[in-house]
């Protein structure tokens, strides 16, 4: 097959993966719409639109990472587990789909959803007034947080290859919900928990995104965060793919 047809096959796989997710209310509502809605609620009802710029920036950062994390963590592994149970994964392996197209498509679609969900949070923040970032900061923040979705895709994939279709969403929740809280995305953590925030990828994504937007908190050296996120991607992604190759 020539290169252009091969590239087309990858793009079509990614396109329909995205379309498929977009038509699933159970995916769109909690992962695409909920972060923006919750941000608006907290901004208007809890902070009454009067937060200090630094607090507003941290709140926005936290919600952006929250928006990026859901589609990434749930958008690759859970559908894979369900499609393996339904026989679709076996059919895909029997078909001459290009090597890796299935996983590349799932990851691209999940990352695109992360970007979209984050875009909604940013748009809501701008509409709500008092937007605490300039254009360059917004773009830098968006780029880092979208890139940071990849390690979460790898973690979700690892869960998906080890779980049944029915269990995968539940097991992913066990990682997702504690991660949102224990990464300190929304409010400062109690002292004893602060040191443990570094074990959660969402913490590093937020710190990196703030750092890229010149809003570094000084909690951690960005190079260390990058190293940890790359290690998470390689470790969980590698283990998941090894398991997929062996056990399907």
């Amino acid at each position: 097959m020539n290169a252009s047809r091969l590239l087309r096959a990858y793009l079509i796989e990614a396109k329909y993966e995205f379309v498929q997710k977009l038509r699933m209310p159970m995916f769109v509502i909690p992962f695409l719409l909920l972060p923006g809605g919750l941000y608006l609620l907290i901004r208007l009802l809890v902070l009454h639109g009067n937060a200090a710029p630094s607090a507003a920036r941290l709140l926005l950062a936290g919600f952006c990472v929250f928006a990026a994390a859901g589609p990434a963590l749930f958008g690759v592994g859970c559908p894979l587990a369900q499609e393996r149970d339904s026989g679709l994964l076996t059919l895909k392996r029997a078909l001459p789909a290009p090597q890796g197209a299935y996983l590349v498509a799932k990851t691209l679609a999940a990352v695109a959803f992360s970007a979209l969900a984050m875009g909604i949070v940013l748009a809501v923040a701008r509409l709500a007034g008092g937007f605490p970032l300039d254009a360059a900061q917004t773009l830098a923040f968006l780029a880092v947080a979208v890139g940071g979705a990849v390690p979460l895709c790898a973690l979700g994939l690892w869960i998906g290859v080890h779980s049944s279709g029915a269990a995968a969403p539940g097991v992913t929740q066990i990682v997702y919900l504690p991660m949102l809280y224990l990464s300190g995305l929304f409010f400062p953590l109690p002292k004893p928990l602060q040191a443990w925030a570094v074990v959660w990828p969402a913490f590093h994504i937020e710190q990196l995104a703030l750092s890229a937007a010149n809003l570094a908190t000084g909690f951690i050296d960005p190079r260390r965060s990058i190293t940890i996120l790359v290690a998470i991607t390689l470790a969980f992604g590698g283990l998941a793919m090894r398991r997929l190759a062996r056990a399907g």
Binding site: V19, R23, S86, G87, L88, L91, R93, L95, P96
Partner: protein
């Protein structure tokens, strides 16, 4: 106990035999834990033939297909698909697949599923042609998840043929189809074979195999117990069926040597016997008024039952 010698195809299929096989299993052994799935199976799919793979549950049919599709590896023996290892994507580019269970994306429309599957192949059929060929044009705009079970099977069939395959694997393709849809699929299969496509079909509907297959391979306990044309398979079974119009007593006929079964339906007698010619002579001698005498070989169904019973 030694394996029964599979029936060899006779002259009508010999030209095909000389042509290079499109898919081949050679002395393949495969176990799943303590279960022997295949025990030295050798089988070829030849160009332009429809090979029906028959056998009771657990006979090894699905394992054979999984090996050809590269979904599992043999413990020993050789598996070839279009002259290559089935693990090579290139070999699968000439193959279409319809599996027994495949939960496709419920949110995608039929046209979108076809577009996606066709993108895997170097020279797929135009979408409209696939829809027309598989009589699924009316389903094109509908979401897969909203289709009935039979419609889903038709769409899965369309996906299997959309890549212009040289070899098509169909696992129980007509399960869940109504009579019209089944006959339509049969017509399409005949057209595909006429155009040079080879087909491997597994089915529990023996009538389907009898109607469509150029060659039938019967598996049991992971072994090939018979392989040949439908007529050849039927002829292995010694029993024949005799029908006639006669006033003779069915219960009396049951006691005759070599008669396995005799029953009356109105004025028609239906007798199953292993030495049909001798029984026919005896019937003619016993009833000078006997009319409409017919002797026929056992159907594929009876042959299948007999063969798999022997192999058990």
């Amino acid at each position: 106990m030694s394996d029964p010698e599979p029936i060899q195809p006779s002259s009508p299929t010999q030209p095909m035999q000389r042509a290079a096989a499109l898919a081949e299993l050679k002395a393949v052994h495969k176990r799943f834990g303590a279960t022997v799935a295949l025990a030295g199976l050798s089988l070829q799919v030849r160009p332009g033939e429809l090979l029906a793979l028959l056998g009771p549950n657990g006979a090894g049919k699905s394992t054979a297909i999984a090996l050809w599709l590269g979904l599992t590896q043999p413990d020993s023996g050789t598996v070839r698909l279009l002259g290559r290892s089935p693990l090579e994507v290139e070999s699968r580019r000439g193959v279409g697949v319809m599996m027994q269970e495949a939960g496709l994306a419920a949110e995608l429309r039929v046209r979108e599923l076809l577009d996606l599957t066709a993108s895997y192949y170097p020279a797929p059929l135009p979408l409209e042609e696939v829809l027309a060929l598989t009589r699924t044009a009316a389903l094109g705009a509908r979401r897969y998840g909203k289709l009935s079970g039979g419609e889903k099977r038709q769409v899965q069939f369309a996906l299997a043929v959309c890549g212009r395959p040289r070899l098509l694997f169909l696992d129980e393709p007509t399960v869940g189809l109504d009579v019209q849809a089944r006959e339509a699929m049969w017509r399409t299969l005949r057209d595909l074979v006429a155009s040079g496509c080879s087909i491997v079909l597994t089915t529990h509907y023996l009538e389907e195999a009898q109607t469509l297959a150029d060659r039938v391979a019967v598996l049991a306990h992971g072994r090939l117990i018979a392989c040949g044309t439908v007529d050849e398979i039927r002829s292995v079974v010694a029993r024949k069926e005799i029908r006639c119009s006669s006033a003779l007593d069915a219960a009396e006929i049951c006691r005759w040597p070599s008669v396995l079964h005799a029953a009356r339906n109105g004025n028609r007698l239906q007798i199953t016997a292993t030495d049909a010619e001798e029984i026919a002579r005896r019937l003619l001698a016993a009833d000078l008024q006997l009319r409409d005498l017919e002797i026929r070989h056992a159907g594929l169904s009876e042959a299948f039952t007999e063969l798999t019973k022997e192999a058990a």
